[in-house]
Structures are given as C-alpha cells and as structure tokens.
C-alpha cells in the first residue's frame, strides 16, 4: 500500500533547541494514524511540517506523493490545535471562503457544506455569525471547514479536546465516515482510549524522537503480558509487601499491577492475604505504556 505521508530523517530546531530529532515515519493511505506524546514532545511541530507551515531543517517530507508539501496543500484538510474562525463572518461565508482556498467550486462547496452541517447536528445555522456559537459548535464548524473539500488526507491536531461526550462522539463518527470514503486520517490526542479504539496505527513521539510506531497489538507485544488486573476484598492494601511487583496503578475498585515474576505465583501470594474476586493476566494498556515511557 502506498504511503500518504513519508518523513525521512526529519529534524527541526527552534533557537538551537531540538523539537523533532531525526524522525522517520510512514503513514499508509486509508489508515487512521494516531500521534501521541506528552505536551511539548514535538507532535504539533511534526504536523505543522507536514502541512508546510514549518519547514524542516533537515530531512525530507513527502505528502500524497509530492515532495513539495505546499503543492499537496489543496488535498489536505487541517484542523490546527489553535482553533481560528472569523468571528464576524457567518458560518456559510466562512466555510465557502475556506473551501475556495482549497480549490473548491461554488456549486460543489454549497452542497458539501449543507451535508456536513447536517452530519454535525448543525442544520439551519448557516447564516448565524460565528461569534454567537458555543465552543462545541465552533469546533464542529472548524471540523467542517477541514473536511468540506473532501480531502485525500485529513490532519487533526487534538480534535476531541474540550468537547462534551456527545459532541466528541459526533466528531468520532465523522472521522470514521471520512476514512470510509478513502481519506487518510492523522490525529494527535492525549486520550489514550480514543487512540486505542480508533487508530490502525499509533505513533508516539517523546522529546522529539520516535519511541513507538505500529499497530496497538504490535506495540503491546513489545511489552509482553506482564500486567495483571485484580479486584480483591482489601483493595490496594493487599498488595503491600508482595515481591515481584514493579508498579501498581490503583483505580480504587480495581488495581492494575505490573509483575516481574510468574503471575500464578503472584496470584497464590495474593490469595493467601485476601479474597480475590477478579484476576486477569493481560497486556499493558496504551495508557500504561505511555506512562512507562514518559514518566520522569
């Protein structure tokens, strides 16, 4: 399968500080690719270089088969982390303007705008001024602006942040719909469960360097089945003093335990101390892997 995005040895510095360090990456066409990483790790810088907003100091970037990332811009939809809408414009005028900048024609634009506004549960609002919209509505309008020209590649920087569960679900459904139409989707997120459930592949950047890249299964395979989920009568207190425990993530009603030894031996020791209601040997969650890598 050809790649929608290819980064080869890309480096970017700001005032001598390395933001992205020798990064290589391939995003297959038609996939949903999740960018994860702590704040300031280089996610947004990478996305901005893909969008030709920033230029790399070293390395090559190929977008939709073109080394000139500016040339591919019209086929790429972009929702930046910093949302920006003209407050005094109506939704209709704004969406037409953004779509025309992407090369859309008037007839096609208007039909697509109506369609996407209905999908976003915003019908009949086209002549409302942007400044009268709620934050959730504005974010959905911004999303429509990114997709209205039916892009081949859609780049979303933190698309679900700040949305209530209902609006977040509307946006997730829209992302899946876009992918079904053949668009490659790249999004950055801090929500690990969203990345686990939606992404075909996940890429993690930490301090400018790639630390994870692959499907969720392949990433989890790298960490093996060293995680045990338990629910006991005494809760986290029952774990104190048991050897071979590397880390405990206490959720209150349930504990996620990383064990270094045999899980069955651990179960035997735990059962000596308290009643065990639930015991499950599993692979580490993306959240756990993220914390393992990024924990200071």
């Amino acid at each position: 399968m050809p790649d929608a995005i290819t980064l080869t040895g890309v480096t970017k510095r700001f005032n001598g500080i390395v933001a992205v360090d020798d990064l290589s990456l391939s995003v297959p066409v038609g996939s949903i690719y999740g960018f994860i990483g702590p704040n300031g790790s280089g996610k947004t810088t990478t996305l901005r270089m893909i969008m030709h907003i920033l230029l790399p100091d070293h390395g090559d970037i190929e977008v939709l088969g073109s080394r000139d990332t500016a040339a591919a811009r019209d086929r790429v939809g972009y929702l930046p982390e910093e949302r920006g809408l003209y407050k005094k414009m109506t939704i209709r005028r704004l969406l037409r303007y953004y779509a025309r900048l992407k090369g859309g024609t008037k007839a096609g634009i208007d039909a697509a705008i109506e369609d996407w506004m209905a999908r976003m549960d915003l019908p009949g609002l086209l002549d409302r001024q942007i400044e009268t919209l709620s934050k959730g509505m504005s974010q959905k309008v911004q999303f429509v602006a990114a997709v209205v020209c039916n892009p081949s590649l859609l780049i979303l920087d933190e698309p679900f942040s700040g949305l209530d569960p209902v609006n977040a679900q509307v946006l997730k459904d829209a992302v899946l719909e876009i992918r079904r139409r053949g668009t490659t989707v790249v999004f950055s997120t801090h929500d690990m469960s969203t990345a686990e459930r939606m992404c075909d592949r996940i890429f993690m950047i930490f301090r400018g360097r790639k630390v994870l890249d692959g499907s969720l299964e392949s990433i989890q395979d790298q960490y093996g089945a060293d995680t045990v989920r338990v629910r006991t009568a005494k809760g986290a207190a029952a774990l104190a003093g048991i050897p071979d425990i590397d880390a405990v993530n206490d959720f209150g009603q349930m504990q996620e335990v990383r064990v270094t030894g045999d899980p069955q031996a651990f179960l035997a020791r735990l059962a000596e101390r308290t009643a065990v209601y639930h015991f499950e040997v599993t692979r580490p969650s993306l959240q756990d892997i993220f914390v393992r890598i990024a924990k200071p």
Partner: protein, 437 residues
C-alpha cells in the same frame, strides 16, 4: 494568484462591511455637510449682550468723539447702518471715568474690581500723548476676558480713527484730500492668454483662489484621508483576526504567508480605491454645484491619483501588516506604529511650504521621497503649471522600487511573526527576520 485573489475578495468584503468603512463613507460626508449647515445657520446669529466698558481719557481729545461714534454704532443695525456704520454684534457702551486726582494705580485697581464684579466688561486708558505720532503712546485695554476680541478691535479701529482725525486737524490738512491722493491701484491676478482651436486668442482668466489652491489641497487631503482610512485597518485585521483569533494557522494550511499578505494588501487597495471613488464622485458633484470647479480635476490628475494611491496603500499597508504580524495585541502595536505615523505626518507638516513654492527645492526634494510622494507630488501635480514630467516619473519609479522592497521585507516579517504567540517582537527582531535568507 488565484488564492491571493480569493483572500483579497474576502478581505475587501470584510473591510467594506466594517464599521470604520461605513463611518468613512457615510458619517464623514454627513459631518461635513452638517458642519457647513451649522456654520451657515450660526453665521448670522448675533451676540446681543451689551458690553459696557469704562475709559479714562488722559488726552482730552478722544472721549467726546468716541462717545459720539459709539452712539452711532450702537444705533446701527446690520441692514440699515447709521452714519455709514453697520453693527452685527452687541452694543459697546462707553462709560467715561474722570481721574479726579486719583493716582493711576489706585484707579486701575478700582476699575479692575468693577470688572471682577461684572459691573464693567473691561476698561481702557488713552494716554495724554496719544495724538503725538512720535510719542510712542499705547492704548491700554484691561479685561478678564482675554479671548474676546470684538471690543478691543473695535476700540483700536475707532480710537485710531479719532486720533488720525485729530492729527490731520492739528496739521491743518484736509483728510478727505489725503485719502484721495494716497489711494492705491489694485492688482488683478490673471492666468495666461491662449491660442484657441479656431486660431483666435482666448483671453486670460482671473485667478480663482478656490481653483488654484482649494482643489489641490482637497486632492492632498483626499489622498491622506483615503490612505489613513484603509492602511491602518490592515493592522487591526491582522492582529484581531489572524493573530488574536488564531486564524493564521488555519489559513497558512491553505495559502502561503506571502499569498495571504498580498491578498490582504490587494483587498486594502480595492477598499481604498472604492472609498476614494465615492469621495471623488461626491466631491466633484459638490464642487461643480458650488462654482463649476469639477473641471479643475483633470483626467490626468485622477490617473496619477489612482497610481499614487495604489502604491501608497502597498507601502503603508505592508508596514502596518508587518507590524500586526509581529505584535501580539493592539496595545503592543501602538509603539511600533509611531515611526510609520511620523512618515505619514511629514507631508502634513510640510504641505503648506510646498503650496507656497511648488517648484522650489524643498518641494522637489520632499515630493521625491517615496513615503511623501503620494501626498506632496499629488499636490504639485494639482497645482498649475505642475511639476516637470521627469520629476513625476522619478517619484513613481522611486515609489515602485520602495514598494517592492517594503513588500518583500514585510513578507518576511509576516511569515515569521504570524505564527508567533505569547510576546511581541522588537524592531531588532523584525530586522533579523528580514535578514534571514
């Protein structure tokens, strides 16, 4: 280019819908018309409050004639003057005060107190040697209303007429004869004779001050108003929308920073051209109605005006756009704008000198400076006979080169500054951005 024009179209649509544009188009003419109407309506409004003043006549020759003239003046009306006098303002009522042996300082203090209690409006002293031309005597006028000039002017004129009459009388010279003999010949200012199309001669026309000076100054002011109405709007638009509303990143995902900046500039040029066109059409209609002055604005003047307007919007618009991109909010931009505003104001400080000597060295040099040329060269072009063509072309070439340089530098500042958030750049940083390859 297509994307640049889409940005320009959007910018134009936004600017012409802005309150600033609506105010420029609608409110300014309304204010101008209202001010004309107000001036006309209040022109004949009279200040009818009598002004009573005391006078101390140490000469003994002014008092009686002054009272006599004041009587005639106060009896006069605007329509039917008494004794050749007309009066529009208040009556000036003289009240003679005799020194009666009091020392002048005491008398002045007493009269000052009477002015302070509003019993008198003012008091005036006529010195003993007022009639002596070599005496250097002064009429002394005392009042606590220094801004009121009608009474002191009337006194100066009236008392001096009385004194002159007395001098002629003492010299046994007939004043009426003197006036006849010293009458000056008036000078009439005319244009030049011209050869008419039919071979005849067209006589020179009398110089019309409104046509000779009024129209050129109006052209200068129109250029100034148009530039100042449009160029600073670009700064507001960049700061309030692209920067503060964080729209820049969305747009830079679709267009290059240079395309965005050029689109905004072209939108600004279109807006200012529309504004100028509205003012020109309205101004010509008014000028034609009031005195047939529309013909003073020739097609050549309009052509040069358009060219200079476009280039000045590119120059000043680029500077404002660059400042907008480098600043984080409107407050920060104020200090950065000062040097640009100085450039804009220089023509406003110097146009009167150019008007007095449009072909002088100062006028020539100033009108070749690219930031002043749109205003001062336009003023010179509008004044007869106009500057030599080579000077106009030189100023256009210099402006075109400067426009290119400023747009290029502004593009570099715009590209870097647009995505910068958190703090405004310094002028030194902006210059470094320009220097970066």
């Amino acid at each position: 280019m297509r994307k640049t024009l889409i940005v320009a179209q959007s910018e134009f649509a936004t600017l012409v819908r802005s309150k600033a544009f609506v105010i420029s188009v609608v409110l300014m003419p309304v204010v101008m018309i209202a001010s004309i109407v107000l001036v006309r309506a209040t022109k004949d409004a009279t200040d009818s409050k009598d002004r009573t003043f005391a006078f101390v006549d140490y000469s003994g020759v002014v008092a009686e004639p002054l009272k006599s003239v004041a009587g005639l003046y106060n009896a006069a009306t605007p329509e039917s003057g008494e004794g050749g006098l007309t009066r529009k303002g208040p009556r000036f009522i003289p009240l003679e005060v005799k020194p009666a042996g009091r020392i002048p300082e005491e008398l002045r203090l007493e009269l000052s107190d009477r002015v302070r209690t509003a019993e008198l409006f003012a008091f005036v002293e006529f010195p003993a040697n007022i009639v002596d031309p070599a005496g250097g005597a002064q009429i002394r006028y005392y009042s606590d209303h220094p801004s009121y000039s009608a009474l002191p002017q009337w006194l100066k004129m009236t008392v001096n007429a009385v004194v002159l009459n007395e001098r002629f009388r003492q010299a046994s010279v007939d004043r009426a004869l003197f006036v006849r003999l010293t009458k000056t010949a008036p000078l009439e200012e005319l244009g030049l004779f011209e050869r008419a199309g039919d071979g005849g001669v067209t006589a020179a026309q009398e110089v019309d001050a409104a046509r000779a000076y009024g129209v050129p100054v109006a052209v200068l002011m129109l250029m100034y108003i148009t530039v100042m109405s449009s160029a600073p709007q670009l700064l507001n638009s960049v700061i309030e929308e692209e920067k503060m509303s964080r729209i820049s990143e969305v747009l830079i995902g679709s267009v290059s920073p240079f395309q965005l900046m050029m689109g905004k500039l072209i939108g600004g040029v279109a807006t200012s051209t529309l504004l100028a066109a509205i003012y020109i059409v309205g101004g010509l209609a008014v000028a034609e109605y009031w005195g047939g002055y529309a013909s003073a604005v020739t097609p050549a003047i309009l052509g040069w005006f358009l060219l200079f307007l476009v280039m000045s919007i590119f120059i000043f618009g680029s500077l404002f756009v660059a400042i907008g991109a480098a600043c984080n909010d409107l407050k920060d931009s104020q200090s950065m704008m000062t040097p640009v505003m100085v450039l804009v104001m220089i023509p406003m400080f110097t146009w009167a000198s150019v008007l007095r000597a449009p072909d002088g060295t100062l006028a020539t040099v100033l009108s070749l400076i690219p930031t002043a040329a749109p205003f001062l060269m336009m003023l010179r072009i509008s004044l007869q006979p106009g500057p030599p063509l080579w000077q106009i072309i030189a100023s256009v070439v210099l402006m075109a080169l400067t426009t290119t340089l400023v747009v290029w530098a502004a593009g570099k500042i715009f590209r870097t500054g647009l995505l910068m958030q958190g703090k405004s750049a310094t002028i030194a940083e902006m210059l470094r951005w320009v220097a970066v390859k």
